[in-house]
């Protein structure tokens, strides 16, 4: 059913449709509305899962870990500091192959404290072993949840999945979201039936100590599984399309890329803004398109190479930075093409940190003024009093 609702509400509905047995979460802006809505569903008797109020995000993650290990489908949501506080548990879940799903309402990291959107929180967790998906709009964020459970719970994958949606920009935006019926979601997503779980009939030990003669093998397998997940993410996106008629991309999505020479690369809600920008530039005769990274982990190197055969320049726009190196996504793109026959030039821009608005005019300007330049880690729309000399686009 199509509803004009907040992104958080759309996610909450979809989470409920996935029938989690256990939800544990701790409030933090801008994730709060998701768990408030789920709490209300529980209070109204609509949600059959348990809702566990916890003392911290660390506790929330630990509760869902325990629940998932006991054979339940578990869910949590968080952001920013909360995600960092969960960090130790997140790594543990991936190592223990527990296919939990959490939603991250992406937000900047303190200090200085900022409750507004960027992707710094997710980037901290990029090496956790989780599958990491990024949503462009609220429909996609909602639709990602049944897909995420189905990907993670596949017996050959068994990995947790993080669904990233931009805090405030998506979580607090009211727009149309089509929420499928319970029956439809049930047809798509079967109940979680793990082969192994904490069970008195088959009393296995989970979470062993691995001495040096074993630890590396577990990590090797985790890497191998991430690679294996690539095909499954694509397959399940197709399956979802077949069932619900909606497709937001597989590992990636593309927009007007057929003959594009310069291509924007980005993740999350900025893709929507970029679509308007690209239409505008196309109307002026520019050969420009968009490469949307939907799956950040596993990182779709092969798929990116496949669609970029004719592309001359990639303009990577990202809402995070790895201090002392630069933009994370731009480095991933450079490594994607390292040693390849065709190597498009990679330009890297950092923007939208801590909720800095990203107006289309800034994107158009950076498109224009970056032509023919070598750029990496260029901050967009800095205040002029801070921007270095020669900055391409300032406030």
């Amino acid at each position: 059913m199509k509803m004009m609702i907040e992104g958080s509400m759309g996610v909450a509905y979809m989470v409920m449709r996935c029938r989690p047995n256990v939800i544990a979460a701790y409030p933090i802006t801008p994730q709060t509305h998701i768990v408030e809505d789920l709490s209300q569903f529980k209070a109204d008797g609509e949600l059959s899962g348990e809702f566990i109020n916890v003392e911290s995000e660390f506790g929330a993650a630990s509760v869902v870990l325990g629940a998932q290990a006991a054979g339940a489908r578990a869910y949590s949501a968080t952001t920013s500091q909360g995600l960092l506080l969960m960090g130790e548990v997140l790594f543990n879940m991936a190592g223990m192959r527990l296919p939990v799903v959490i939603t991250v309402a992406n937000r900047a990291i303190s200090a200085p404290i900022s409750i507004w959107n960027d992707h710094s929180d997710a980037m901290v967790m990029r090496d956790s072993g989780w599958i990491m998906l990024f949503a462009e709009d609220n429909q996609e964020a909602a639709d990602m949840h049944p897909q995420a459970y189905k990907i993670g719970e596949n017996p050959e994958i068994m990995l947790p999945v993080m669904i990233n949606m931009d805090g405030f920009i998506l979580t607090h935006a009211v727009e149309t979201v089509d929420i499928p019926s319970q029956k439809e979601v049930d047809e798509f997503l079967p109940p979680y039936k793990p082969e192994e779980y904490l069970n008195v009939e088959n009393p296995l030990t989970f979470g062993n100590l691995a001495e040096p003669q074993w630890y590396m093998e577990t990590r090797y397998k985790l890497q191998e599984t991430q690679e294996d997940a690539k095909a499954l993410i694509e397959k399940i996106a197709d399956e979802y399309k077949g069932k619900f008629g909606r497709y937001h991309g597989g590992l990636i999505d593309t927009y007007r890329m057929d003959d594009a020479e310069r291509v924007f690369v980005a993740m999350g809600s900025i893709i929507g803004t970029l679509k308007d920008v690209v239409d505008d530039l196309r109307a002026r005769g520019e050969k420009v398109g968009i490469l949307k990274i939907r799956s950040f982990r596993p990182f779709p190197k092969e798929k990116i190479r496949e669609v970029c055969g004719h592309v001359k320049e990639l303009l990577v726009l990202e809402k995070a930075i790895s201090f002392g190196l630069g933009g994370v996504l731009q480095e991933e793109l450079r490594s994607t093409f390292y040693g390849q026959k065709h190597q498009p030039k990679v330009l890297g821009f950092v923007l939208g940190l801590g909720g800095r608005d990203i107006p289309p005019k800034s994107l158009i300007k950076l498109y224009e003024v970056s032509k023919g330049k070598e750029i990496s880690n260029e901050f967009v729309d800095l205040r002029p009093e801070v921007a270095p000399k020669g900055s391409l686009v300032t406030l």
Binding site: N21, E55, F58, G66, Q68, A69, V89, L198
Partner: protein, 304 residues
């Protein structure tokens, strides 16, 4: 002893423990003994979540495990929360007849894991939390914890010209837990296995959150002979330094009286290298402070 009396008293063969042999605990390990007793009291219809520490390390070196019940280790500070998740999952699936036990050492419980433990107790989820209290971080080489007793020497509270060891008092963990107004909170010790096992069985019959602090000597960290584990544990009780009590809804309901068996604290301290520095002329005042701690315990719980 005649043949007939022997036949009369005959018992069935010993069943294999749920924490079985082949684990790698030190010889004389009080924690291994405590955990074995807890598991065998709980029985096989139990799921266990364990925090990082000696107990996990010595029992689960991949690809083997000494546990014969469904068992999970996640992290140092979260066994209470992991158990809470297990309990919620079982409840949601309508499996109400399975025991859930969370366990950890004193560091994992009273220090780094106190937040998760408090959350569990606050929610009064149907879980028994067992803290194996060997009074320091033994897994990492005997560093002090919040449950290290006053004046005990550890590698991070050494004795020296300016110090007599740990200068902080042992945290009142039982009181902290009981103050959550949970239906059952108690202490026990490997010195009295029957009492310990009775408490585990009793706790598991009570719905809601239960807490049990088990005193478990560590021959390595306390520096005593391995065969003295039980004897040392008994002396902790009879000196008043480790009171054995039961509390229900934050009220003391039962205590193990010391009475005539009361022994001076020196009898306990002298068996352990961690208190050796207290037996010098300059340490007389400090020894007196330990006596006062024992006396305060005895008076508070009415152990005489």
């Amino acid at each position: 002893m005649t043949e007939s009396t022997k036949t009369k008293k005959q018992k069935p063969p010993v069943e294999e423990s749920l924490l079985t042999c082949g684990h790698r605990a030190c010889a004389g390990c009080g924690e291994a003994l405590g955990a074995k007793l807890v598991m065998d009291a709980a029985g096989p219809n139990t799921i266990v979540a364990t925090s990082t520490g000696c107990l996990e390390v010595f029992s689960t070196a991949f690809p083997q495990t000494a546990w014969r019940m469904p068992w999970i280790h996640s992290l140092f500070e979260n066994s209470a929360a992991v158990a809470a998740g297990i309990e919620a999952a079982l409840r949601n699936k309508g499996k109400h007849d399975i025991n859930v036990i969370a366990q950890g050492g004193d560091g994992g419980t009273a220090d780094i894991g106190l937040g998760c433990l408090s959350g569990l107790l606050e929610r009064n989820q149907n879980v028994l939390y067992v803290c194996y209290d060997n009074e320091a971080y033994m897994n990492t080489g005997v560093q002090r914890s919040g449950l290290t007793p006053y004046n005990a020497r550890t590698s991070t509270s050494p004795s020296g010209t300016e110090s007599f060891g740990n200068q902080h008092q042992k945290k009142n963990l039982l009181g902290i837990c009981a103050a959550h107004n949970i239906p059952y909170a108690a202490t026990a010790t490997v010195a009295y296995p029957q009492d310990l096992m009775m408490k585990v069985k009793k706790a598991l019959k009570i719905p809601g959150a239960k807490f049990l602090q088990v005193h478990v000597p560590c021959p390595l960290g306390w520096i005593h002979k391995s065969e003295l584990t039980i004897e040392v544990a008994k002396l902790a009780v009879s000196t008043g330094l480790f009171p054995i009590v039961e509390m229900q809804y934050n009220k003391v309901t039962r205590t193990r009286k010391i009475g005539k068996d009361r022994r001076p604290v020196e009898d306990y301290l002298k068996l352990q290298g961690r208190f050796k520095h207290l037996f010098t002329d300059t340490a007389k005042d400090e020894l007196e402070k330990v006596r006062q701690i024992a006396q305060a315990n005895i008076e508070y719980f009415g152990l005489e």
